[in-house]
Amino acid sequence: MSIENRVDVESQVEPPPPQAPVTLVHAELPRWAPYGILAGSLVVVGGLLAATGSFGVGLFVFLSAIVFGLATYVISRVVEGGRKATDRLVTIVVTVAFLIALIPLISVVITVVGNGVARFDGAFFTSSMRGVVGEGGGGYHAIVGTLIITALAAVMSIPIGVLTAVYLVEYGVKSRLARAITFFVDVMTGIPSIVAGLFAFALFALFFGPSIRLGFAGAVALSVLMIPVVVRSTEEMLKIVPNELREAAFALGTPKWRTIMKVVIPTSIAGIVSGITLAIARVIGETAPLLIIAGLTTGVNFNPFSGRMTTLPVFAFNSYAAPGVPREPFIDRAWTSALVLIIIVLVLNLVARLVARVFAPKTR
């Protein structure tokens, strides 16, 4: 481009027409505006409700949220324009949705702790329901049953699940069998727990007759639910082991199976253990399959291969659904079982997170 041309171009640029100076910044609400509007709506709604004499916490929060959203939208629309107003409205809606999602969690914890603490005593953990008609008694037999059945299910599921994940990641990459397994493991994740119970019943009824109730059969049903969870989580963990580690081991002449046992699995052990713990936490609260196949009994049964075995969730359900004649002790025991169950599940979740965090391989 020649100099003349450039001058030519510059001369064609018109000077800006004389008008109000263009600002690149929109009018904007001050940073404290949302808090101010929130406080305002709380006061207004609270005042109105108090004036009409129909004050209720739920109604108050519900109406305040609506007033807050509307007020923000209107004010922002006037000051900042429609697009910004929509943005603010959506922010409020999304935040409120999150808070709504937290309500059940908080409510469940409060309810279960509040109702369950009445019988959360030594007797609950040391006595069974044998010979108990009214007050007293406890969930010892149910706790024992839960631990035995879950342990058995874990013993069956962990080797199968981990080995399958090893096959999927290390051996069967992209083969037809591996793809089929992946798909059906996904499908298995969605099997309703009651169907797993029916399966265990149908299986054992073939050999032992239709009145069979067995702790071991309950463990089989739980394995059907647990295996896919173990496979999925282990698979994810094995996949993120860097390939360089495997190649380094191969380069040293290590056989494949020793590479997997000594390099791949130790590297990902934290994630695998945490995934297994979460899987245990998932099945330990299962009710439906055990109601069907493990049955109900009042006494302690340590032998999963003979006779009925009560578990905590089934005990809770039965105490609540079919209480005895003074009703309260049964309901109390149901809530305490739920409390014990929640504590177990929360502890397992916490352990899983801690294991994943503390024993995670130092990658950097």
Binding site: T86, T95, A97, L163, Y167, R176, A178, P192, L198, L346
Partner: protein, 331 residues
């Protein structure tokens, strides 16, 4: 299923003759130890065992369901045909799951958006754990909570609905005095499937290409416009499949329905009255312990129907997820 076996046989045959000769075109095979073969075999065996178990689930259910299918209707519980027995249960199952889905999906998408795009960065992961905890609460606990807290709390809402919206058949009433209604079941199920829909949506939202988001923001889009233009179109199939996984779970959920509803074999769209259809799973859980003979077979036949419905829903969900995975570039 042949290629893997073939592959391994090749390894085994070539193992003894694996003196490396540089002139051969094929690279030398690694020496296969017995340990290698045992370990590979065990791994593949475990995988095949899973397929066998799944086939077993279907096979044993069919075997046990056949007597009920073949039996004359007069011998079945209630003295009706199998279809008349299971029909209302299927209806109840679908209705409760559908209510749950309608409530949970918008909420879950909003929660996922909050965690991925609105929450302060530091808090986001912790908040995610909090929602995951919801998934960890056993279903029996949700059932107890539903009947003890939610049912009484729903009375006000139900009364309001029937007073002002009573002309809609859904809310015709009369309001159940105990609050143990289809509506409460739907809400409880919604709480239970919320975490899974949230988890799937969250994963997809996080995979939205960073550049798409930044490009939208650079063009002057507000945060909501960025989400509408970049995040939601990208995550649509993720939301759909998450919702279907949630639907699958709601269909099979047993204890919450069993505790809250006292079902009768009727078909009604009235959500807030005291007579409600039960669901397949809840009906099995409630009837099974006291059933004998053909009644057991009938229950298993209904379980088979439930199995097929959830299988269909879940396969569809997985199909959508997998199809999107191929072109998302996520892997």
């Amino acid at each position: 299923m042949l290629p893997p076996f073939h592959h391994q046989r090749e390894d085994a045959v070539s193992a003894p003759t694996s003196t490396p000769t540089p002139t051969t075109a094929t690279p030398p095979k690694a020496v296969q130890q017995p340990g290698d073969r045992i370990f590979a075999g065990a791994a593949r065996g475990a995988g095949i065992l899973i397929l066998v178990v799944l086939a077993g689930v279907a096979a044993f259910l069919v075997i046990q369901a056949v007597p009920a299918i073949l039996a004359p209707s007069s011998e079945l519980p209630g003295g009706t045909s199998l279809f008349a027995y299971i029909g209302p249960l299927i209806f109840g199952t679908l209705l409760s799951a559908l209510i749950a889905l309608l409530i949970a999906t918008p909420l879950a998408v909003a929660v996922a958006l909050f965690i991925t795009h609105y929450a302060p960065r530091r808090l986001a992961q912790g908040l995610g754990y909090l929602i995951d905890l919801l998934a960890a609460v056993p279903s029996i606990v949700f059932g107890l909570w539903g009947v003890a807290v939610l049912a009484p709390a729903s009375l006000g809402l139900s009364t309001w609905l029937t007073t002002y919206l009573g002309w809609i058949p859904l809310f015709a009433g009369p309001v159940s005095a105990t609050g143990r209604t289809m509506l409460v079941v739907g809400i409880t199920l919604a709480v239970m499937i919320l975490p899974i829909i949230t988890a799937v949506s969250r994963e997809v939202f996080l995979q939205t290409p960073r550049l798409h988001e930044e490009a939208a923001l650079a063009l002057g889009a507000t945060r909501w416009e960025m989400i509408r233009m970049a995040v939601l179109p990208f995550g649509r199939s993720g939301i759909i499949s998450g919702a279907m996984l949630g639907l699958g779970r709601a269909l099979g959920e047993t204890m919450a329905v069993a505790i809250i509803l006292s079902g009768s074999g009727i078909i009604t769209f009235n959500l807030i009255s005291s007579s409600n259809p039960s669901s397949i799973a809840a009906n099995i859980a409630l009837q099974f312990p006291d059933s004998t003979g053909l009644a057991v077979n009938t229950l298993i036949a209904s379980g088979l129907v439930l199995f097929l419905i959830t299988l269909l829903v879940n396969s569809l969900a997985r199909y959508i997820i997998n199809r999107r995975r191929e072109f998302s570039g996520a892997n």
